[in-house]
Symmetry: C3
Subunit: 350 residues, 3 copies
């Protein structure tokens, strides 16, 4: 399995400086690459590694290439975004290395007769697909996946082993969901009905669903709850890491990224192109504007209307403010000592 630089250009674009017939058989970081390997320069601080790298060719921007003293000994593939280009070439190599998934339905899968399964779909061992579900072309359901009644999976969806999709949920094209994730469990809604000693929490039926747009990736053991009345919505291109919890009736704007262990309470809307760090907590019924970044472990308890970077735990504020104040907090004992000294100076007899 090998591609010449010219072949890569014809697939993904870019301009070859050097030998377009140079054959690439794999990828590696600059400091580990050998002959026949393609590397990339994404961060200018590694510029000096380019000249010493053993790579046959290097993905590089034209601005960075101008700073290379000697182009001897290797070829260059000049592109706008070396890291993204590298990722696409890596996907190409991986796809060719993996055994092809045969289409068809494993004999141990349990498919309701009213479900519609595209002929090109691949349904693994012990999968369960309930009544009325629709499974699109080239969908791949790995072993032990569960698809509830009337759920709809668009073409090219890939669910890894042991994913649950509850009834009525819809997944857009090319959605990928990792093992253990649960899409469409009931939102957490109960009405208190206590009088005197007795009573109970009365469950509020959750009759919305989850609607996931195209090109969404969801990590292992993440949970996204169905809406109470309307749907919970994940827009196109959103990327969600492992063990994230998204409450009922949330809407996550397109291309937003959410890192692991973050929890978002119900009825909250995140804008487009937000970046939410790991283990962040976002309260319910809030609205975050487009292009908000929240640092890891922060608490968001108010709506954020202005693009920017937010941090902190009581609650998140703009990161520059947080960092200045957090540094003081770690040294509060010194401030108190200064205060004490002042008090002694001002009221010496006290």
């Amino acid at each position: 399995m090998a591609f010449t630089l010219d072949e890569l250009v014809s697939r993904f674009g870019g301009v070859v400086i050097g030998d377009g017939a140079c054959r690439i058989t794999g990828l590696a970081p600059l400091d580990q690459a050998g002959p026949n390997q393609l590397s990339f320069l994404a961060n200018p601080k590694y510029l000096s590694q380019v000249e010493t790298s053993g790579a046959a060719a290097v993905l590089i921007t034209s601005a960075a290439l101008d700073k290379i003293a000697s182009r001897e000994g290797r070829s260059f593939l000049v592109v706008a975004n070396p890291y993204a280009y590298f990722a696409r070439v890596a996907q190409l190599f991986l796809a060719l290395a993996q055994p092809p998934e045969p289409s068809g339905i494993h004999p141990t899968a349990v498919i309701d007769p009213s479900a519609v399964i595209a002929a090109s779909a691949s349904i693994g061992a012990h999968v369960v697909v309930e009544a009325g579900a629709v499974i699109g072309e080239r969908v791949r359901l790995d072993a032990q996946v569960f698809i509830g009644r009337n759920a709809k999976l668009a073409p090219d969806v890939h669910l890894y082993p042991r994913v649950t999709v509850y009834h009525g949920c819809t997944l857009g094209e090319r959605v990928q969901i990792h093992s253990g994730a649960v899409i469409g469990a009931d939102g957490f809604g109960f009405a208190p009905d206590f009088t005197g000693d007795g009573g109970e929490w009365v469950k509020i039926p959750q009759v919305g669903a989850v609607r996931i747009g195209p090109d969404v990736d969801i990590g292992a053991n993440t949970t996204i709850d169905r809406g109470a009345m309307a749907d919970t919505v994940i827009e196109e291109g959103v990327k969600i890491d492992n063990q994230v919890q998204i409450g009922h009736n949330c809407r996550i704007g397109a291309y937003t990224v959410i890192a692991g262990c973050t929890g978002i309470a119900g009825s909250t809307t995140l804008g487009r192109h937000c970046i939410i760090g790991g283990a962040v907590g976002i309260g319910g019924h809030l609205t975050l504007a487009d292009r908000i970044t929240v640092a890891g472990k922060s608490s968001v308890t108010k709506s954020l209307t202005k693009a920017g970077v937010y941090s902190g735990t009581f609650p998140a504020i703009e990161s520059s403010d947080w960092n200045r104040n957090a540094a003081l907090m770690r040294n509060l004992d010194k401030m108190r000592a200064r205060l004490k000294q002042l008090e002694a100076a001002v009221n010496p007899t006290r």
Copy 2:
């Protein structure tokens, strides 16, 4: 599927003001409801919406009804708790809309011959029930559920797809558990045995179980560990959200509610009617009194003996104290500037 207001009264109580023969075919919020729909007024701030709502009938308290200027154009159902009443009617509609679950055992389920399965139970595809387990009347086990040996499920339990119940655990009547939850995995207990360079953590066998009372709801991917010697206990009517972790030997008091992503370390006891926010951390070997509320993302590192509202991250204190101090923390740089100015005034030559 429709009910008259009089039919609802005969099921759930209340008093009709207006047309008892008015037919209800569904439910909706005040601002979205149309003819034949029932709505509710739970929060006085939406009082003005009642008169403009298109709802055929509105659930309302008698106190709120007294404030309505015009009762024209719709009927009222006067009840003590409109929101809880609404939830019960919604449950009724949902139950009728859902396809009935046929009783019986799916041919792909693997049931140990020594397990006892009630005739009215419904056992889904690829379910596994081990030796000595007891499955009560009308229990519903969705696809791919696992029930360990000697576990006991009371009547009307519903486990969604892919729930694990370990050996020896017991579930009370009407318990509902969502997909991916794990009940009864080993608690986290190891004895250090290191000397010099060598050694190991010696596992402490976890020989207790998990005992769950009636009417408990448990969310997706939540984990509740079995006890080390005695049992971990979840009392009646407790409601637990997704991705909650409850350590070995905890006891959660009746009707307590725990929001998503919260973790409770081992051997901690929560009182009755507590409300624990999302992503809260509660340390081990603590006791929380009845009717404690803890704000989201707080850390509880000491026992709390007094009912009240607690917040904060180092560690939680009464919320009013926390909020006052947290506001100062966000402005600590201003306090330092004032301190500096004072120092200059007092010691001008410094």
Copy 3:
């Protein structure tokens, strides 16, 4: 099922003071133990309970035994580490009480013909083992486990029901993993490629795996991601609780313990013998030295190079510093009042 003290000594070491023929049929804490039961004294503060305990025999250090006034009425088993010894005896009793797992492959398991399954392995109902996987001697796969292609499980591994091991991952001898855990899902890596209005996050293929050393325990619903290029590594003897998330390319040093709900971002290295509390967040690309302890709920955002105890949320600092400053933070309003008073004294006319 019973053992004499002499029999225990021949298995686990120690010295009997009293009756070596004394028969033990079970274990219990000092204050609950009855005749024929073995108890232990691990914490000197319970010394007084030894003399009043109904236990037939007590595990004790020789130093503690010297402080016991009367040895009447019970025997002693003098050992270096009573708690670890107790755990080992408890394991022995538990192993004998459990029904033996029959070796062999359940007829509903789906095993690829190219997988290699040791004759002494026990493969449960609805298990899936893909092509090229290797399952060692006495491995026990409980129901509904998934093993991806070319994964390798060393002898005596035990996977509880519904564990996922992705392709190419390797598990060392005696590894135990609880229900719902996911080993080897893709790490969270995407290259941004946005220009103007359009663009996407380009997935970076995750072609490393997860390599787990011997004697590692992993809790329910924990996730450990596969590496991007190199492997994610969990060294021998590591113990990980429930709902922990470990990002791609992390390395966790031998014998380190990680409590529940903790998240560790990608490419971070933890030393040996670290103790990480519950719900801790550790950032990416950090290095923690050997023998670091981090208190529960802390945030670690910088590398920690010195053994010690760290706490805090902005970010973690040495615990003694944190505790002193956190106490001041909870009383910041008092500091401000003192500052105000001083300002009035220094600038009375202001």
